[in-house]
Amino acid sequence: MVHFILRRLMVMIPTLVAISMLVFFLIQLPPGDAITSRLAELHAEGAEVSEAQIAALRARFHLDDPMPVQYFRWVTGFLRGDFGYSIVQEQPVNVLVYDRLGYTVLIAISCVLFTWVIGFPIGFYSAIRQYSASDYTFTIIAFLGMATPNFLLALGLMYLGHRYFGTTIGGLFSPEYMGEPFSFGKFVDLLKHLWIPMVVVGMAGTAGLVRVMRANLLDELQKPYVVTARAKGVGSLRLIFKYPVRIAINPFISTIGWMLPMIFSGDAIVGVVLNLPTIGPLLLSSLMTQDMFLAGSLIMIMSTLTVLGTLISDLALAALDPRIRYD
């Protein structure tokens, strides 16, 4: 097992290196660099910037070093937990990201839980009652859930909340708790707000998982061992839970890997609509201002979390599924 974990960790490294190269390429992509856009901004504000100041700025961020050197400095910063410096906002990325990262991870985890708690029973029920009226209903809802863009769902919920309850949905806290230290009251307030991004971001994943769970369980239920067990008179619920469910449940663990990118993608747009204090809106604003170092670091953080999530789901799967060998 230890050997298996170590090997999986080793495989992660080249992946992360490749991602970091791609992201660094992204950072270099826009015409000009961070200083040019910062200068444009300063000019717009009416500030005079001298040649010497520009040179000082360029030197400070090592913008005239050769590309490989810049890349190396950026990447090694990551290893030390230093995510670079946002030139536009004039703050280290760490400071900007710190709180937001926590809320993003919170939303991601609650989305995964929501997906499981809702997806499992519905998929299960749809499979054992195949072609029943409720199966069709759930199938239609699942298809709708997969087809509705999450930002549209967020907009719709916001409109309905405004129209029928007179409240504005959005954010993660009520105004009175903004900037307050964490307390029990604030926690309850957070829970009251959290369910909306949770449902909105988790909707498509849940719908997809319902379909997968249903299909897997149906496949499993047709296998000879199930028929044999049934013929021998094993009670039907016990029979289903004993083996077929355990096998059909695999995707719940193995899909964390692809659920995370979906959740981060969802957060990137839903966060903007619902005005969440997460990474998504920060990414958009950094891209708008061409603050590419911040944007690159954010994408790098999301990708790293995804790779970690994949690793965790691989390990969990290996631990839970006896068919997976460690060597």
Partner: protein, 394 residues
Amino acid sequence: MNNDETTNLPIPPGAPADAGDAAGVDDSGAPPEESRVVFASQWKLMWWRFRKHKLALIGGVIMFIFYIVAAFCEFFAPYDPSTRDVTHILAPPQTIRFVDEDGRFHLRPFVYGYRMEIDSETWRRLYTPDTEDRRPIVFFPRGEPYKLWNLIPMERRLFGLEHGRAYLMGTDQLGRDVLSRTIYGSRISLTIGLIGVLLTFVIGILLGGIAGYFGGITDNVIQRIIEVLICIPHLPLWMALSAALPGHWSALRIYFGITVILSFLGWTGLARVVRGKFLALREEDFVVAARLCGTHETSIIFRHMVPSFLSHIIASATLAVPGMILGETALSFLGIGLRPPVVSWGVLLQQAQNFQVLAMAPWLMYPGLFVIIVVLAFNVLGDGLRDAADPYSD
């Protein structure tokens, strides 16, 4: 044998699987229906199977209608998408009616004109239907002249009013007709999915084919690339790439830029499918036979292997289109995709991003309804195609 004769017969009602016994396959006395199945081409078998999938059929018809409307959007849209009507700003949708206030039935559908007053406190325009002002809808009226596909000068539109303008889906903040804009927007939104998938198709088949056919190190490298791309959340990467598109580019170049960006990540799924099929087919007898005959590699790939899994690829590609459409919509909605003079569904939805506007004019979300319908139809169609793609399985 009577091959031609039987396959040219009209399609039997439902493909019969067990009409006769296995004994009579080579027997000329076999029931005609069975021989029809035996001699039917692969594509015909797929069509029979697809036809049984009613939902997929409906999805296909819906998509066909949408693409027809998108192709002739100048004709189907009642007005030009950029014409402003300053007397009707944020006007709500009109209802098409057949029965008027007095309960009289009219064969020709009509709408009521607007009565507008301005709320003295909030300065908001309040519109109510003016029941005195009955406006019949006419078909094929002369409207603003336009050029179909920028080539053919025309002035007939599908429908309109005899006098005044109809706003069946309301108007936006600048007094432009939401219905017309949605119809024009479908041209951009729907083609971006198709062109994107075409690109994806080419990259996916090429790289997936290379990986699956040659195997070894090549396969390994391509597999790793795919894994890396899958680990990066799509939307953020799309956002970063499209934010990097130069601001001075023309609308057309931005459009193609976005398409390329969308397919830049989209090919991975298709490449995996193709690779899997190649791996499975490489050892098949007919491929080995072709190789032993000295057939050239490209010829083996494109003459023998690709046709045998083309149907699967088409199904996968159909399922990839909605992702592209949603991607464009999301990017444009965020304001880093296509930009306003261009009309796409995402650009239209951008107006609904402002909550104050949305609360006043929920009809600005209508384009979103079309996004849902199209994505739904594509998903259902793709599902049906996937089920039909392998007609020999049960």
